[in-house]
Amino acid sequence: MKTYVAKEQEIEKKWYLVDAQDMILGRLASQIASRLRGKHKPIFTPHADTGDFVVVINAEKVSLTGNKWDNKIYYHHSGYMGGLKQISAKKLIEKKPDQVLYMAVKRMLPKNSLGRRQLKKLKIYAGSEHPHVAQNPQLLKM
């Protein structure tokens, strides 16, 4: 008996809708990441994209525990000397309300080309509107 390997054309990819209002950032992100990878399906195959599409609304209303709005700091480096940039979670959600959740999920996915492809199935919107009505995403309770 051979272990089943999912082929790209056999994989059924569904659309899910997630309301991020008052959800705790990391716990929500880990569940979204797991859906994007397809680890909730018995056909999960590590080298194939078996995951579903996830549409997130109300991303700006996501919550953080403790003092993390002030203390959680996102770092990145421009590559030049003294080029270490930083921004606190509070500032980031004011400037780019969808980025906080996006970064959390991105950093939970595998850091390779498959992970980058899986991240493209994540659609995050700050408000309660989303343009994917045609895909008829199913509401998912996290």
Partner: protein, 114 residues
Amino acid sequence: MPRVKRGFKARHRRNKVFKAAKGFRGSHSKLFTAATVAVDRARQYAYRDRRTKKRDFRKLWIIRINAAARENGMSYSEFIHGLNRVGIDLDRKVLSDMAIHDPAGFSKIVEMVK
């Protein structure tokens, strides 16, 4: 005694390495020294990975069983504990295959285990 030149043996020795290095990138399939190193290393990886293959597949089966068990409202660890308690002697390979090709049968096992 006929005169013996070394070219024939040497060529055969090198060709053996080149044959094993087919498809390697750049100089690793074209230059003898680089190809020798690459082939030695490739064989070490092959030896190691024949062993890790068994662990990798077990990991994959466990991920799949976990997904299927959760669809039936149970975590993997609870499921396996239940199997041991009830005394069902199916291995992870068979269970993961059932989860994909016979979901109804898998649900039945979960019911028995509950």
